[in-house]
Amino acid sequence: MARRSLIAVLLAPLLLLAGVIALFALTKGAGLNIQPAAPNEAIQFERTVLRPGVIELHIRNASADAVTISQLNVNDGIWPFTVAPSSEIPRLGSAVLTVEYPWVHGEPYRITLFSSNSIAFSTEIAAAAQTATVSAGTLVSFTLIGIYVGIVPVLLGMAWLPALRRLGRRAMLLLMAATVGLLIYLGIDTITEAIEQAGELGGPLQGFGVAGIGLVGTVFLLDALSRRQMMTQRTDTERRMTLATLIAGGIGLHNLGEGLAIGAAYSVGAAALGAFLVIGFIIQNLTEGLGIVVPLIRERPSLRALAVLGVLAGGPAILGTWIGGLVSAPALSVLFLGIGSGAVLQVAYQIGRNLVWPAAERRQMPITAFAGVVAGMLALYVTGLLVK
C-alpha cells in the first residue's frame, strides 16, 4: 500500500507536466505561433563510395524535420540519380544516392544536393579513386596492420624494461615525466580532433555531448577500476601490476581509435594517407610500451604477464581497423575520439600521481619532473612542425 502511494506521488508531477505540455501545444506556443522564415535543414555526408562510372553518397538527415532530396549537381552539372530507400529522409534517417557519373581518377569533385526547400548541401571528393571493397583478404590485411601498429611497437617498447632498470634515478624520473607530457599533448590533440568532428555532426546527434560522454565516461571508468583494485590489493607488487594493467587498458582504448582512423582511411581509398598514419602510430606506440613497463621496473613480472599487457594495449588497434574499414559512422568516430582522449589523459594522471610526483617529492627533484613534462609536450610539438 505504501509502495502504491509512493508510485502515485512520483507520478503526479509527471501527469501535471503532460497537461502543461498539452496546453502549450493547444495554444500554439503560448500564442506566439513562431514559424521559421526558412526551413532549418541539415544533411550529414557519412560516406562516399566510388566505383567505375558510379558515385554513391551515404547521407544522414541531421535536422529537426524530414528532408527531401530533389536534385543533384556534380561539378556544375545536374545529374540524374537514384535514391534508396526514399528521397524523403526522416529525422536521423539515412539514404544512399547513386549517380552514374564518368569520374576521372585523381580529379576533384564537388557534389551538391538540393532539398525540396532549395537548400544546398555540398561535399567534396578531394581526389577521386576507386573505393576499396572489403573482402576476407582486406580483413587479413587490416589485422596485419593492427598488429604492426598496436602489438609490435608496444611489445618492443616493453622490451626496454631491462635497460630501464639500469637508468639513474634522475634519468628515470625525467623519462616518466616526459611520458606524462607526451600523453597530455596527445590528449589535448585528440580532444581537438573530437571537437572538430563533433562540430560537423548535425544538431540531433549532439557531437559535443557524444565526445564528452566518451571522455568523461572513460576518465571515471578507469578511475573507478583503479580505486577498486587498489582497495582489494595490499602488496606494492600487486598495486604496481594493477597500475601497469590500467595504463595498458587506457592505451588500448586509445589504440582502438587509432585503428579506427586507419581502417576508415583505407575504406575510402585514401590508402596512401593510411600508410602515413601507420608509420606515425608505430613510432608513437613504441613509447606506449615504455609507459606500461615503467611501474614494473622493480618487479619481476612473468613473460606471460608482459605479453597479456602488450596485447591489452595493442590488440584493440586490430579491432579498430576492422570497425573503421567496415562501418562508417561519424558519431561513432567522435565517441571513440572522446574515449581515446579520456584514456590517455587518465593514464597521464595515473602515471603522474603514482610514479612521477611521489618520486619527485621523495628525491627532491621537482624541477626534473616539470622539465620532463614540458620536454614531452615540446617533443611532440616540434616534431609536428617538422613533419607537417
Binding site: 552539372g77 545536374i78 551538391t112 525540396s116 576507386q130 587490416f142 585528440t190 606515425g280
Partner: protein
Amino acid sequence: MPRSQGTGAASGRHRGDQKRSTHPSRRDILRLGLGGIGLAGAGIVTAMSGGGLAPEIPAGAAGSGHDGHRPQGADGADDAFAMPTVRGEVNHAANGFDPGDLLTDFDGGKVSTLPSGQTLHEYSVVAQEKSIEVVPGIRFPAWTYNGRVPGPSFRVRESDRVRIRFVNATSHPHSMHFHGIHPGNMDGVFDVASGQVPSGGTFTYEFDAEPFGVHLYHCHTSPLAKHIAKGLYGAFIIDPKEGWSRADHELVMVMNGLDIDFDDENEFYAVNTIPFHFNHDRHPIQIKVGELVRIFLINLLEFDPINSFHLHANFFHYYPTGTSRTPTEYTDTIALMQGQRGILEFTYRHPGRYMFHAHKTEFGELGWSGVFDVRAATPN
C-alpha cells in the same frame, strides 16, 4: 558561375571531406613525433605497403584518365550515355504554364481601331506572387506577370497603339519597363507618375509600338536584379508593317536562370524557365526537314554576364534585335549579354535529333539545353 554552395540557415555545413575521420590530422601526424624513436619501424611499414592495401590504380587508368567511364551498354538494354538532367518532371498543370506552349502563344491582346485609324492592342496584366515548381520537387517563390514566367509574349505591328492596364496584386512595388521608343512617363522607372506601381496599385502604360524587332519588358523596381530574377520579364515583339517572310515555325525562347536559394547565383539555367524541358528524353521540339524556323531569342539571364545559343549540325541567319530585314551573320553560335536579343532563321536539311544549347557548356549541363527532333518532310 554557380559555385555550388551551402546556403540557408542550416546548410553552412560544407562537408569538407569524404569522411572527416579518414584524413591524417594534426594529432595523427604529431604522433610521428615521439623523438624519432623507432624510425626503423617506419621503414618496415613502408616496405610492406600498408599490409597489401596500397592504392590500386585500375588497369589502363594510369595516364588515360578514363577509368571512371562507364562502358557503353554496361547496364544492359539501355545503351545511352548518361547525360545531365533533372530527376522527375515538374507539374506543368499546377504551374499553370508549359514551356512548350510558351514557345508559340503570341498575345495580340484585345484589338480595336482608334478614331484616328490606328490599331489598338489592349492588355490586362496582373503582377502575382506564385509558387512555381521550376525543377521537379523544388518550388520557387516567383513574382510573375499573369502567373507565368516569362510573362505574356506581346506581339503587335509596328506603329500600332499599345495600352496595358497593369495591376500590382503583390505585396511589393513593381513596374513594367518596355524596351522600345516611348515617352519618359511610360518608362516605369522613377515614381508613381512614370509607372512605378505600389502594392495594390494600378497603372496604364500606353505608347506606339516602335521600332520593329524583338524586344523585351521587365520590372524596373529596385533592387532590380532581384525583381528580374524572381520572374518579372517577358517578350515584346513588334512586327514590321510589311511583316516578316513566311515561316513554318515561330518560336519565342527566353533564356533565363533560376537562383533557387537566393544567393545571387543561378543554380539552374533554361529557356522558358523549366531546365532540360526540351531535351531528347523529355519534350523535343518537333519540326520537319525543309521547314523555316524563326526563333525570337531574348537573354534575360541575371547574375551571369553572358549567355549564348548554339545550334547543332546547322547554321542560322542572325538578325540582331530584329530591327533589320538583312541578316548580319550566318553562324551556328551567338553570344548575348543581358537584355540583348535577336532573330534566328534556319532550315534543317537532314532528319535527326539536333541539340540547341548555351555554348557556355556549364549552363547547358545546368539546364539550358534542348533538342529539335527533325522528321522527314511528308510528301504532298
